[in-house]
């Protein structure tokens, strides 16, 4: 078990540097380090089994993060002029609507909200069975406007890369910004977010689960251990 876990990590080159940097935490989290734990070590309050998950944001914290991001977006763009929020289905769209609601409350501006499905632009289409395609909706012409892409989790950056390609086929915005509720690290492409709800350090094997009331009936962000061979969201 110990051996196979190490092999799995060694064969993912992108993990190695982080693993070396964060070895003590890694051992506690993975459960495989348990035999090495010294007496007096604090009991980790995080999941040690394969079925445990830990909550990192509750409903209030999500609401505060959204409110702050909405303010930041307005501040960075000196208001809401020519601003368009484009959510990436499914939860990005719900978040985009929340940001627009906050913007309406604080500045009484109606910022157009759209949906940008990126399925057809993904670079991993051939790696799995045919993926279902979501809905794309353009609320206004985006030529010359500032488009804020909104997604729930920023991870490898591949979804955002696909979104930039998809956006390019719909028009030519003056600028594109990225707002995400969770930045969990492990970028595989030169992409960074302009507006972040919360940075959450994770390991590659973990799965960050964002649940929003509009879709899941509950507002909560949690980290689930997941399968170490599979990347999370």
């Amino acid at each position: 078990m110990l051996r196979s876990s190490f092999t799995a990590l060694r064969y993912r080159p992108e993990v190695v540097p982080r693993r070396l940097l964060r070895r003590p935490e890694e051992d506690l989290l993975s459960g495989t380090g348990a035999p090495q734990a010294r007496p007096g070590d604090p009991t980790p309050d995080v999941g040690t089994g394969s079925s445990d998950s830990r909550v990192v944001l509750d409903a209030d914290q999500i609401a505060r993060a959204c409110a702050r991001m909405a303010h930041q977006i307005l501040e960075a763009n000196r208001g809401a002029k020519d601003l368009v929020l484009m959510g990436i289905p499914t939860r990005g769209v719900a978040l985009a609507h929340r940001l627009a609601t906050v913007m309406d409350e604080v500045e009484s501006v109606k910022v157009p909200v759209g949906a940008l499905d990126v399925t057809m632009y993904r670079d991993d289409l051939r790696r799995q069975p045919t993926r279902p395609v979501g809905h794309t909706h353009l609320p206004v012409e985006i030529d010359g406007s500032t488009v804020v892409l909104v997604d729930d989790v920023l991870y490898s950056g591949r979804t955002v890369r696909a979104a930039l390609d998809a956006l390019g086929d719909l028009g030519r915005p003056r600028a594109v910004q990225l707002a995400v509720l969770i930045d969990r690290g492990h970028r595989e492409l030169p992409i960074h977010a302009d507006h972040v709800g919360k940075y959450i350090p994770t390991r590659t094997g973990e799965h960050v689960s964002v649940r929003l009331a509009e879709i899941d009936g509950v507002n909560q962000v949690s980290i689930e251990p997941g399968d170490p061979f599979r990347g999370g969201t």
């Binding site: 057809m120 289409l125 045919t130 979501g134 809905h135």
Partner: protein, 310 residues
């Protein structure tokens, strides 16, 4: 789904998925860049042994809008006219490394046969008097759009009646539509002169009737089939004029239709024979919507077959 050979290959969930995706695909037509990268690097060959305008060109546009490379091969001007067999032609084309083969052939079952010879995906674009599944899909899609105008939440065709009128015996469109529409829950009623109702029709999931005027007031959709020119002298009906009197969608019949009912025709139309100009151009005619749906539905089907891992 590996091949699309028959409308019977599809269950209700798959059909609904294809329709939902076709709705998304139809938005591409209104965009500045009419292209999606989903099938980049894939090759689709249209192998047509029979004449076709709309089916072939809509498959070609569908493939190109999804960024696939599309090649058209027709029997005329190919080695088929030198006597090459279907098997050799199919194997030759497949040997070039194509990912999907769209086949139209005058022999029923030719695409099914081809699907056993090669590894590529095979799409039936009309085989003899057997089936034409993508036509049935685009008809079903057009009908769903029409019905959703008055009932936006409609998911299936339960409780709806579709009358298919004309030469049922020789119609692959009718066969595919019977399968597809009844899978979706519609009550399909076939209307034809007794000579043009196929033997064994009682085993189909349909009602059959020889009197159009009896069916017309109850149908939500009236689908007229083309009278194929070669049948006119085949002894199936006395004269084209008598056919029109018995089974043509004439102006008086237009008025006898249920309110809110719509007209479909797979084309090409014989105006004045099975359908009058009044009916073809009526406000409740969906004929041009059907043509427009052709590209979206075929994009959807190509994506379903070729969009994922092999």
């Amino acid at each position: 789904m590996r091949h699309l050979l028959s409308a019977a290959d599809l269950d209700r969930t798959q059909i609904t998925e294809i329709f939902d995706l076709a709705e998304e695909m139809s938005l591409v037509q209104g965009r500045p860049v009419k292209k999606l990268p989903a099938l980049r690097g894939r090759t689709v060959v249209n192998l047509f042994f029979e004449d076709s305008t709309r089916t072939r060109s809509s498959f070609e546009i569908a493939g190109k809008w999804l960024s696939a490379d599309v090649i058209n091969i027709s029997a005329k001007g190919s080695s088929v006219s030198k006597g090459e067999s279907l098997r050799d032609t199919v194997l030759t084309v497949a040997a070039m490394g194509v990912d999907a083969l769209v086949i139209r052939h005058h022999a029923s079952g030719a695409p099914w046969q081809a699907s056993h010879w090669i590894d590529a995906h095979v799409l039936n674009a009309g085989d003899g008097t057997h089936e034409h599944p993508t036509q049935a899909l685009l008809d079903g899609f057009t009908i769903r759009r029409h019905l959703r105008r008055s009932a936006p939440d409609l998911v299936d065709f339960e409780g709806k009646t579709v009358a298919i009128v004309g030469d049922i015996t020789h119609s692959r469109v009718a066969r595919s539509n019977v399968l597809l529409l009844s899978t979706l829950g519609a009550q399909v009623t076939l209307v034809a002169p007794p000579t043009l109702l196929p033997p064994g029709v009682d085993s189909w999931p349909v009602l059959a009737c020889t009197d159009l005027d009896e069916v017309l007031p109850h149908a939500d959709i009236v689908m007229m089939l083309r009278v194929q020119r070669e049948r006119m002298s085949g002894g199936y009906f006395p004269t084209p004029r008598e056919y029109t009197i018995g089974y043509g969608l004439t102006r008086p019949r237009l008025e006898a239709m249920k309110s809110g009912a719509a007209i479909c025709h797979p084309g090409p139309m014989n105006r004045g024979l099975e359908i009058s100009a009044d009916a073809a151009d009526a406000a409740n005619s969906l004929i041009l919507d059907q043509v427009a749906a052709g590209v979206s539905v075929r994009m959807s089907v190509l994506y379903e077959l070729l969009g994922g891992a092999e």
